[in-house]
Point group: C2
Chain length 147, copies 2
């Protein structure tokens, strides 16, 4: 396992106790603490790899599968209007995938969450979505534990 | 094959002659005409499906494989500093994946391309990258034709 000093995702992958909702020896699934986007989740590859296409085939398929399972869990619990899925890593070039539930009333819709915000989501709506997070954690655990 | 009237990606998938660099009965690969991002490419699923997780398993694996092959072709020819890969579709909810070569001198780096631009890439640099597009088209054709 390659670890790079100063890489925040290497640090997260090695953190004890782990902040992950689910993890195995290859990847960790975390819920992102983003006030405007409850249900925002990530799959973080543990090894310090730059691109999905740097992975050997078996690992790449495992990562694709993890992102797909996470998308299913987010859809099941958060019931978004749309799911956004992305691997960017320009700031932290350590392989990770974002899975983001999107709603017509979120701060950026229909633009990507990285664009300029165009509105504030009502606090009550965000609170209602945030209250679903324990259920989302359960759904992730269930979907990943079943292999 | 579901076609939705007014969906621009349904129209693109059905266009004759096809603008695709490569296509089969399931998906099309196109080069995006974005002046600031030569080498920006997309995999467009032909059927009008909303999310990757709406696909049956065999199709999902085929799409994952297509995005991976496209990432490899873009890396091979465009030699980016980083690749960005994303499925958003908030504006056009017809399944498609972006593969975007990123460089330290591009208009948004290190932010995602959907953020506020922070610089202008020198015209000569963009021209040099644009000149690689025939080679990128060849690399895509080669990688997809080989199955």
């Amino acid at each position: 396992m390659t670890r790079v000093a100063g890489c925040e995702l290497c640090a997260l992958a090695a953190a004890s106790p782990s902040p992950a909702v689910f993890e195995n020896d290859r990847f960790a699934v975390i819920l992102v603490d983003d006030a405007g986007y409850p249900g925002f989740a990530r799959v973080i590859w543990k090894d310090h790899v730059r691109e999905t296409s740097d992975l050997p085939d078996a690992d790449r398929l495992l990562l694709n599968d993890a992102v797909w399972k996470l998308e299913l869990a987010v859809r099941e619990v958060m019931a978004p209007l749309k799911v956004n899925v992305a691997s960017l890593g320009n700031v932290v070039p350590h392989l990770h995938w974002h899975v983001i539930p999107r709603y017509a009333d979120d701060a950026h819709f229909p633009a990507p969450v990285w664009a300029q915000a165009v509105r504030e989501t009502p606090a009550a709506v965000l609170a209602r979505r945030k209250a679903l997070l324990p259920q989302l954690a359960d759904a992730i655990t269930r979907r990943f534990a079943s292999g």
